[in-house]
């Protein structure tokens, strides 16, 4: 029984832990409004890595991409139109 973890998985895992360290560190650096943008950008990067490597999206065709993206796209609609009311109230 010989088995080694595949390199892409290992790489993704290390990258994820690295990004986690980065995001926690950056959270303590005063950047004003950019703190939350940075945190969310790093979160999105991490999610992309998980999707591409762990969930094997990098090996899938456009149909799976559309299915994986549909949820996010509609989440975008919910947040966009939902927030529109709250941000433009007088």
């Amino acid at each position: 029984m010989r088995w080694h973890p595949p390199l892409p998985l290992l790489g993704a895992w290390l990258a994820l832990l690295l990004l986690l360290t980065l995001t926690v560190t950056l959270a303590y650096v005063p950047l004003g409004h950019f703190n939350s943008s940075v945190a969310l950008a790093i979160a999105a990067t991490k999610a992309t890595i998980i999707g591409a490597v762990f969930m094997e999206l990098r090996r899938r065709g456009p149909r799976t991409f559309i299915f994986a993206g549909a949820g996010l796209f509609w989440l975008g609609i919910l947040l966009w139109l939902g927030m529109m009311d709250f941000m433009t109230r007088t």
Binding site: L78, L81, M84, D85, M87
Partner: protein, 535 residues
């Protein structure tokens, strides 16, 4: 009648309640839906009888509020949403695409059990004392003020929501993966496009309702929540979340109905549907744009004026694909060879009623008029024209059309036509006066009302009684046909769809051999070769 069909594949209770056959599950759904339809319908009839006079005479105001809530909750979540997808869709989809079952048969069965569990929990809430919030569960009334069984009812709807999600998921994957060889997307019957589009809504909108209902329960249990104005929460946030689901849900109800109409119109005018691609993509457009209009329920709620503006604009935009469909159906009639069997009567009624419903929708999308008309009987009439005049009519049309396939029996054409005409007149008599009431300013959900509104209310109530009787009629003659009807041939309408190329009722695995599709749909012969079967 062929010897081995899905109906005689087993007679035990087990063979029904643990079946994974999509056709049997469709029958299970059908039986449950009839039950819920009549509960919801009975509540509606009581409401209309109460409203025949301006005073309270039949029921107390608490009882009245419980009645209209029960009517709304039961009819929306336990009849309209599952109606065509879960009965006709479940039965017909695999047959239409030449598959032996849906992609996930056990999920399909689980979906029915969830539906029944949700239904039972909701019925329990009603039996235990009822719910008085209206089907919209507006906060903070539902969370902090109502003393009725809101949490229980909400749990029931929550569970039923997962049943919807599983059904939608099943249809999407089935239509993607299980089509017969040669059945490309543009060769799909339009019924399938009209089931695919709302399935996307089921999958993407229902979870938002689910979480919103969870938040209601949390707020009721803890006494604080996101929608609680006392701690700086926002009741309008609830409305945004609720309508993010509930407006697209309207399209979950109407799109499958439109799908049925495509099949009926083309079959009974012996012509392909005019402008296939436009109609197909109109379904997708309606489903997609339907997510961008929810705020038109909130024009007077105090949402920002800019938001109202955007939502109003999108509401007008979403009306365009609906208009396309109506015009294409009419164009299909042109130079057809039209026969007026019962399903066709329903289809024609659908076009008329849906168009009235759609056009009055423009009144409500129009910001300034909506200020006056919203929350009045104008709205009630408008959405009943869509939901009942449109969706329920389409459901009855589809039921008659596929009845020979489903049961292997023919019903009485005479009674079927009588019922169709009665429903049409009863419906218009019930709901048309409500437009006038609304324009005059009678608010909805009123138990007593100023006497000057009485005349139109009496007309409406009279129509409701006719409508209730007319809805009972099909129950009688369809049940009669089950035992005494003539045996149906495989293809009583002389239609080219795959579902008609297998015996009636279909065998357990639908097709003896895997069908291969080589043509676009709706290749009708110009004239009926088969004689009218049901006369």
């Amino acid at each position: 009648m062929n010897e081995d069909n899905y109906l005689n594949a087993g007679y035990t209770l087990r063979s029904w309640f643990f079946t994974t056959d999509h056709k049997r599950i469709a029958i299970l759904y059908f039986a449950s839906l009839i039950f819920f339809f009549f509960i919801g319908g009975a509540a509606a009839t009581l409401i209309r009888i109460e409203l025949a006079t301006p005073q309270a005479d039949l029921v107390s105001s608490d009882m009245y509020n419980r009645l209209f809530t029960m009517h709304g909750v039961i009819i929306v979540w336990f009849f309209l949403i599952p109606s065509i997808p879960n009965t006709l869709g479940n039965f017909i989809v695999p047959l239409m695409i030449g598959a032996r079952d849906l992609a996930f048969p056990r999920l399909n069965l689980l979906s029915w059990y969830l539906f029944m569990l949700g239904g039972c929990v909701t019925l329990f809430a009603i039996a235990a004392g009822g719910i008085d919030t209206g089907w919209t569960f507006y906060t903070p009334f539902s969370t902090l003020y109502s003393n009725s069984y809101v949490a229980v009812a909400v749990t029931g709807v929550f569970i039923a929501g997962f049943s919807s999600i599983l059904t939608g998921l099943n249809f999407i994957v089935t239509i993607h993966r299980l089509r017969a060889p040669g059945l490309t997307w543009y060769r799909l019957p339009l019924f399938l496009w009209s089931l695919y589009a709302p399935s996307v809504i089921l999958v993407l909108a229902t979870p938002v309702l689910a979480i919103t209902l969870v938040l209601i329960v949390v707020e009721r249990l803890l006494g604080v929540g996101f929608f609680d104005p006392r701690i700086g929460g926002d009741p309008l946030l609830f409305q945004h979340l609720f309508w993010f689901y509930s407006h697209p849900a309207v399209y979950i109800m109407i799109l499958p109905g439109m799908g049925v109409i495509n099949e009926l119109i083309s079959c009974f005018s012996r012509k392909a549907v005019f402008g296939y691609k436009f109609v197909a993509w109109a379904s997708v457009a309606i489903a997609a744009l339907g997510f961008l209009v929810w705020g038109h329920h909130m024009f007077v709620s105090g949402q920002s004026l800019l938001a109202s503006l955007v939502f109003s604009f999108m509401s007008f935009v979403v009306a365009v694909p609906s208009a396309i469909k109506v015009f294409n159906w009419t164009a299909t009639l042109h130079k057809g060879s039209i026969r007026f069997d019962a399903p066709m009567l329903y289809a024609l009624a659908f076009i008329g009623l849906f168009t009235i419903g759609g056009l009055t929708g423009l009144f409500l999308a129009c910001l300034a008029y909506d200020v006056h008309a919203t929350d009045t009987y104008f709205v009630v009439a408008h959405f009943h024209y869509i939901m009942v005049g449109g969706m329920v009519t389409a459901y009855f049309g589809g039921l008659h059309y596929w009845w020979p396939k489903i049961t292997g029996r023919l019903y009485s054409e005479y009674w079927a036509r009588t019922a169709a005409v009665l429903i049409f007149f009863g419906f218009n008599l019930t709901f048309f006066p409500q437009f006038i009431l609304g324009a005059e300013g009678m608010p909805r959900r009123y138990h007593v009302y100023p006497p000057e509104f009485q005349m139109w209310n009496v007309l409406s109530s009279g129509g409701a009684v006719i409508l209730a009787a007319a809805y009972l009629l099909p129950l009688v003659y369809l049940a009669y046909s089950l035992f005494f009807g003539k045996r149906a041939p495989a293809n009583p309408w002389d239609a080219p769809g795959l579902e008609w190329q297998t015996p009636s009722p279909p065998p357990e695995f639908n097709f003896e051999t895997q069908p291969v599709v080589t043509r676009p749909p709706y290749q009708y012969t110009p004239d009926f070769r088969a004689e009218p079967q049901n006369a």
